[in-house]
Symmetry: C2
Subunit: 242 residues, 2 copies
């Protein structure tokens, strides 16, 4: 285990490699020479404009954004709350979940609440978070997009999560889906997630997506919705222009 | 897409950060200060020996090995070959697959061959590769072990692969299982894999696990079996001692 002291700082500050992806930072010293050789060879055959386009798309590698599913692109808690209210005759709302998970708010029935998630179809019909499709499609032009979900916590959810992604994000290649547990295994420049625990050992910039349960978390880069994600990356891009 | 020119070099040479994990390389400048503060506080309360043990296990973070499943810990091609021979009345052996995949050796029935893999139970009863359990259990004492499989290529395989891992590698936590597609998303110091394509953009040291199909690949660090993996990491550890 990596102690928090070693990594806690990274998710809380802006990355220092402005304008360079993790790839470029780690791999470029060798790559740069190769790129120069290729550049000199290829410009003999390509017009200036054509080469400019190729250079942008290949030699200047894309930065990578990893995106969580539940409570970030899939409205997990709306369905969970609805099922809970139906089963237990309550009328809890998102307001009641401020600073809580449903199972910490009602610990006496935590097992029942969590077992709802084991149903193989629980994750199949979650609503898509507003604007997430549009903004992710937009980001996919300038970034490599990966979906990274802690599906190992609910192995019964694999098929439903996969089918949900294929239905609602058909423009993302499934080779870019990652079902994992410990997200410190993710090699990306950014991770958009609603759980701060995933930022502890994450190598890039953590971006906390606001959800009722994380409303009191402080000290993280925070976005409140997908329009806010769009704004964040527009500003980041402006800050990175030479 | 990242061009091969940028990354091709990395999987072919030993990592330059001898003795330091990727964590330490990326995160330590800040972490080192925190560790020193903690060190000074904690040695007041801990005996020298106790502190030494803590320091080794936490402040000196473990390096991480990611391990592929098929043809590395699970004997994929033995079963595939057997099913093929049964269905097509042939008697092909591993020898016939030197430099080939079954579907490239018999391209006229490639669709039939590949569709065998879509059966939800195909991956459930593969044999465990000799010595893999023992050597991985041994490595798990000094490294963080992750299992990284390109399961997104066969979404019907999720449940079978998960259950197979829980049965045969019960000592590995399932939060360390990664079902992905493009393995460049894996953040680890080493990747043991039988497919060289996964090394192209991998950030750490690729280690090619010998299989019939990759027998003619050259220029990679190669291990021929799990005893060879054990030897590789023993030598690596010796080389890293101060």
């Amino acid at each position: 285990m990596i102690p928090n002291v070693v990594s806690a700082g990274t998710s809380r500050r802006a990355p220092s490699r402005r304008g360079r992806s993790l790839w470029q930072e780690r791999l470029l010293p060798a790559g740069r020479c190769a790129a120069v050789v290729i550049s000199q060879t290829m410009t003999l055959q390509l017009g200036k404009r054509q080469w400019g386009r190729m250079e942008r798309r290949t030699v200047k590698s894309l930065k990578r954004i990893a995106i969580d599913m539940d409570e970030v692109i899939a409205d997990f808690s709306e369905k969970h709350l609805r099922l809970y209210n139906d089963q237990f005759g309550e009328s809890l709302t998102a307001e009641d979940l401020r600073g809580h998970r449903l199972w910490t708010l009602r610990p006496q029935v935590a097992d029942d609440i969590l077992s709802m998630l084991d149903h193989p179809l629980f994750f199949r019909d979650l609503s898509v978070m507003p604007d997430s499709q549009e903004v992710i499609a937009e980001l996919a032009r300038d970034y490599e997009i990966f979906i990274a979900t802690a599906a190992m916590e609910r192995p019964t959810s694999f098929a439903a999560k996969y089918e949900w992604l294929k239905e609602h994000f058909p423009f993302l290649p499934d080779k870019n889906f990652v079902f994992c547990g410990d997200k410190s295994i993710i090699y990306a420049d950014y991770l958009i997630d609603d759980s701060v625990r995933h930022f502890k050992r994450f190598v890039g910039q953590g971006i906390l997506f606001t959800a009722s349960h994380n409303i009191y978390e402080e000290g993280y880069v925070r976005v409140k919705d997908w329009q806010d994600v769009r704004r964040y990356f527009r500003e980041t891009a402006r800050g990175e222009e030479p």
